[in-house]
C-alpha cells in the first residue's frame, strides 16, 4: 500500500529521457547475509533537487557510496548523462562531475577559506603560491554563490558548522561538480545555520546546471526546497513523488507505519 509505482513517474519511461543526469537502475547490494539495497531505481533530472529520506539503516549511505563511486553495486546499472558505466572510484565519479560533500570531512581547519577552495589545485607562481589570485577568485566565486563569510582569509577553524558546509558545497561547485550528493547537510545545525545551507541549495537550483541529492532523516527541514522526495525503507525505495504532491504528514505516517510494522514482526517472532 505504501509502495508507489515507479513507472508512473513521467521520466521513468522506456529509454532514459535526455534530461536525467543520473540514474541507478535495479541496483542491489549485499554485505554477507544483509541486503543493504534491493532493486533500487533512482533518477535525477538536470537542475533537480531530490531528497533521499530514510531512517538509520535504511540503506541511504550505501546508496550514496555507490553513487559517488566509493563502492560498486552487486547488480544493476548506473547511467550518467545517458551513458551506462561503472564508477570505478571516487576520483572517477568526480571526473564525471559527481561529488559528495561531507560536513566535516572535506576541509582543512588550519587553512584559510581560499586555500581550502583551491586545495590541491592551487594557483602557483613558482615557487610561491599566487595567494592574491586565489583570494580574488575565491571571493568572487563565494559572492556569486551567495555564501556569506566575513573574509576568505579567516581559517576554516573559525567558521561555524553551517559556514563550513557552505564552503564545502561551494568548493565542489567550483571544481565543476554537476551532481552534488549532500550527506546530512543539516545534521547538528541550528535553524539559522540550516537556513543558510537551504538558501545555497535554492541558489544552485536557480542556476539550473547543478543537480542535488540531499540525504536526510529530518525531512521537515529539506521538504521546502526539494523538487521530489524518495523514501528508502529497508533497502527499497518505497516512495517517489514530487514534493508538491505530498506532505510532511504523509511521510511521517509512512515512517511511523514502517516502525509499527517492524514492532509487530518482532513481537510476532518473540
Amino acid at each position: 500500500m505504501t509502495t508507489q509505482d515507479l513507472g508512473t513517474q513521467p521520466s521513468a519511461g522506456d529509454g532514459p529521457p535526455p534530461d536525467d543526469v543520473l540514474r541507478a537502475e535495479h541496483v542491489s547490494k549485499r554485505f554477507g547475509a544483509v541486503t543493504a539495497l534491493r532493486d533500487v531505481n533512482l533518477h535525477l533530472a538536470r537542475g533537480e533537487v531530490l531528497a533521499l529520506l530514510g531512517d538509520n539503516g535504511a540503506g541511504k549511505s550505501t546508496l550514496m557510496k555507490i553513487l559517488c563511486g566509493f563502492q560498486q553495486p552487486d547488480t544493476g546499472r548506473i547511467v550518467v548523462n545517458g551513458q551506462e558505466l561503472t564508477l570505478k572510484s571516487v576520483e572517477h565519479a568526480r571526473s564525471l562531475g559527481i561529488d559528495i560533500v561531507y560536513q566535516d570531512l572535506a576541509l582543512i581547519p588550519g587553512l584559510s577559506v581560499y586555500h581550502n577552495m583551491f586545495l590541491n589545485r592551487e594557483k602557483v607562481r613558482w615557487p610561491l603560491l599566487n595567494n592574491r589570485a586565489m583570494r580574488r577568485i575565491a571571493r568572487e566565486h563565494l559572492d556569486e554563490m551567495g555564501v556569506n563569510i566575513p573574509s576568505v582569509q579567516v581559517s576554516v577553524a573559525q567558521l561555524s558548522g553551517g559556514q563550513r558546509q557552505a564552503i564545502a558545497v561551494a568548493r565542489a561547485v567550483f571544481e565543476n561538480a554537476k551532481i552534488l550528493l549532500l550527506d546530512e547537510p543539516l545534521a547538528a545545525m541550528g535553524v539559522k545555520e540550516g537556513a543558510m545551507i537551504l538558501d545555497l541549495v535554492q541558489d544552485l537550483k536557480r542556476r539550473g546546471d547543478v543537480s542535488v541529492i540531499i540525504i536526510a532523516h529530518n525531512y521537515g527541514q529539506v521538504f521546502e526546497i526539494c523538487d521530489r522526495v524518495n523514501l528508502l525503507q529497508q533497502g527499497e525505495i518505497t516512495f517517489d513523488k514530487p514534493s508538491r504532491e505530498t506532505s510532511v504528514e504523509e511521510l511521517t505516517d509512512l515512517v511511523v507505519e514502517e516502525y509499527r510494522q517492524a514492532l509487530r514482526e518482532r513481537h510476532g517472532l518473540a
Binding site: A106, I108, G110, V124, I149, P150, S151, S155
Partner: protein, 357 residues
C-alpha cells in the same frame, strides 16, 4: 583554534556583506585593529616574552649581557642549535608526526664526516655533504618505517634514535676525537670560534628559518603539511600525496639534526659521541610548542619556534649571568611548556565558547 597561516596586516579582505561596520574612523581604529591583528598572531605572546627577557637582562646586567662574547654565546651556541632543529620538528609536528631521533642524528653525522676524511681521504667539502646526507637518509628511514610500514613516529624515532646512538658509540669506541684540521676550510662556513665565523651558526639559523617560514606559509609544500596534520582524510580526499609530505619532513628534520651536529663539532673542535642526545631535541620541541605549534598537528609557525628558541637561550644564558644554578632551568622550561599548553587549550576553549551559533 588556529589562525590562518596568512600573516597579517591585511586580515580583512574586501569586506563581506556581513555589515562589519564603519570604515575610516581615523587613526584610533587602525591602532585597535592592528593590535587585534597582532594579538591574533600565534607568535605574539612568545615575541613579547622574548623581547621582555632580552630587555630585562640587557638593562639589569648591561656590562655582562651586552658583550660580544655573551651575544655570540647566546645566539650562536645556545639559540642556533635549538632554532635549527626546531625547524624540522615544527614541520613534523604540523603534519602530525615527531622526530625523537634527531638528537642522535646530531651525534652520528659528525662521525660520518670524520671517517670520510680520516679513513676514506675524501675532500672535506664532500665529507661534510656526506655528513648532511646521512641525516637525510635517516630521515628517509624514519619516513619509511612510519609512513610505509605504519609505525607511529613516536615509536619509530625512539627506535632509530637508539640505533644511531649505538652506532655512534661503536664506531667511536665511545671516545671523542678532534675535528680534522684539514676540514676547517669548509668547517668555518658552518661556524668556528673567532670573528667573523663565530656568527655563522646564527646566520644559518636565521636564513633557514626565513626559508622555511616561506615554505610553510607560501608554498604548496607548506599547505599540504598543514593539511596532512589538520585533516588527514580530507587531505587524501583532495588527492594530496600525504605520505610524500611526511617523508619529506622527516628528511628535513634529519638534515637539520646533521647540520647542527656538524656545526657543534666544528665549533667545539671535537667530535663527541656524547654530544646531541635527547636534550637538544626536547629543547627544540619546547621551542616549537611555546612558539605556538600544536602538538596534535594542523597548525604551527617556524617564526614562533625561532622566538621560542630565543626565549630558552636567553633564560639559559641569563641564569648563567645572574649566577643562578643551572639546575633550576629544567623547572623553568617545564613550567613554560605547561603554561604554553594550558594557555593554548584554554584559549581555544574560550574562543569556542565565545563563538555563537
Amino acid at each position: 583554534m588556529s589562525d590562518t597561516v596568512e600573516s597579517g596586516s591585511k586580515v580583512l579582505g574586501p569586506a563581506g556583506a556581513d555589515g562589519d561596520g564603519g570604515r575610516g574612523n581615523g587613526g584610533r581604529q587602525v591602532v585597535v585593529r592592528s593590535l587585534a591583528v597582532f594579538g591574533r598572531q600565534r607568535e605574539a605572546t612568545v615575541l613579547v616574552v622574548a623581547v621582555a627577557l632580552l630587555l630585562y637582562f640587557g638593562i639589569t646586567h648591561t656590562s655582562t649581557f651586552v658583550t660580544q662574547t655573551n651575544i655570540v654565546d647566546l645566539l650562536s651556541e645556545l639559540m642556533a642549535p635549538i632554532a635549527i632543529i626546531a625547524i624540522g620538528e615544527v614541520m613534523l609536528l604540523i603534519c602530525g608526526e615527531i622526530d625523537l631521533s634527531v638528537g642522535f642524528i646530531y651525534t652520528l653525522a659528525p662521525f660520518v664526516t670524520l671517517f670520510a676524511i680520516t679513513d676514506y681521504h675524501l675532500p672535506s667539502l664532500v665529507a661534510v655533504i656526506l655528513g648532511l646526507l646521512s641525516g637525510v637518509v635517516v630521515g628517509w628511514v624514519n619516513g619509511f618505517i612510519t609512513v610505509t610500514l605504519g609505525v607511529p613516529s613516536f615509536i619509530t624515532t625512539i627506535g632509530t634514535g637508539f640505533v644511531l646512538l649505538g652506532v655512534a658509540l661503536v664506531v667511536s669506541h665511545a671516545e671523542p676525537s678532534p675535528t680534522p684540521p684539514i676540514a676547517l676550510g669548509v668547517g668555518k662556513w658552518l661556524g668556528v670560534p673567532g670573528n667573523p665565523w663565530q656568527w655563522a651558526p646564527f646566520v644559518w639559523a636565521v636564513v633557514l628559518v626565513a626559508i622555511f617560514h616561506v615554505v610553510l606559509t607560501r608554498t604548496r609544500w607548506g599547505l599540504y603539511t598543514i593539511s596532512a596534520g589538520g585533516n588527514l582524510l580530507g587531505a587524501r580526499e583532495a588527492g594530496i600525496n600525504v605520505g610524500r609530505i611526511k617523508y619529506g619532513n622527516f628528511m628535513i628534520s634529519g638534515f637539520m639534526g646533521a647540520l647542527v651536529g656538524l656545526q657543534t663539532a666544528f665549533y667545539t673542535n671535537n667530535v663527541d659521541p656524547t654530544a646531541g642526545g635527547y636534550t637538544p631535541m626536547f629543547y627544540a620541541v619546547i621551542a616549537a610548542v611555546i612558539g605556538g605549534t600544536a602538538m596534535l598537528g594542523g597548525s604551527g609557525t617556524i617564526l614562533g619556534a625561532f622566538l621560542g628558541a630565543m626565549v630558552l637561550a636567553t633564560l639559559t644564558d641569563g641564569f648563567d649571568i645572574l649566577g643562578i644554578s643551572a639546575n633550576i632551568l629544567p623547572v623553568i622550561f617545564g613550567g613554560a611548556i605547561l603554561v604554553a599548553m594550558i594557555a593554548n587549550v584554554q584559549l581555544a576553549r574560550l574562543r569556542g565558547a565565545g563563538r555563537s551559533i
